[in-house]
Symmetry: C2
Subunit: 89 residues, 2 copies
């Protein structure tokens, strides 16, 4: 787990909102995009950063890509900061 990548990903409000939306369950890229006033390509970039951080996982269902929340990485990163370690570069 690249802790820096995780916190980078968490630093943008849109990306945190995406995580919040995914708490209610998996959602397609398009459905997620519908919640924002941004273009799909822009959202796609945000999805990528969340995926790089492993905060979400993606699965294909037909022509759609379904995003899932990966709660455990979130917990690891945050408790890492509250606890002792934060192996910064």
């Amino acid at each position: 787990m690249r802790i820096n990548t995780v916190f980078e990903a968490l630093s943008h409000p849109v990306r945190r909102q995406i995580l919040t939306l995914l708490k209610s369950g998996p959602m397609s890229a398009g459905e997620l995009a519908g919640h924002f006033d941004l273009t799909k390509p822009t959202l796609s970039v945000h999805f990528n950063k969340l995926r790089d951080a492993e905060l979400v996982a993606v699965e294909r269902r037909g022509t759609s890509l379904i995003y899932h929340l990966n709660m455990s990485i979130l917990e690891e990163a945050l408790s890492g900061l509250l606890g002792k370690k934060d192996q910064t570069p």
Copy 2:
């Protein structure tokens, strides 16, 4: 508490490291700066961001500025993300 400011502040490795250092107790700006390979003005900017986020508080002792960790804001922000709310703009 501006949640966005808090996560912005947490997004930089140096700033997270500063928080980690402060877990052992309050420390002056100069002492903190000694732990990094960066100039004091650069560190000063980082201190400001942490202070804006209220993640640290500052107190003057003679010519020195002593920084204190504000653990509660950290806990609030992180548990806010794990829990329900994250009122993103």
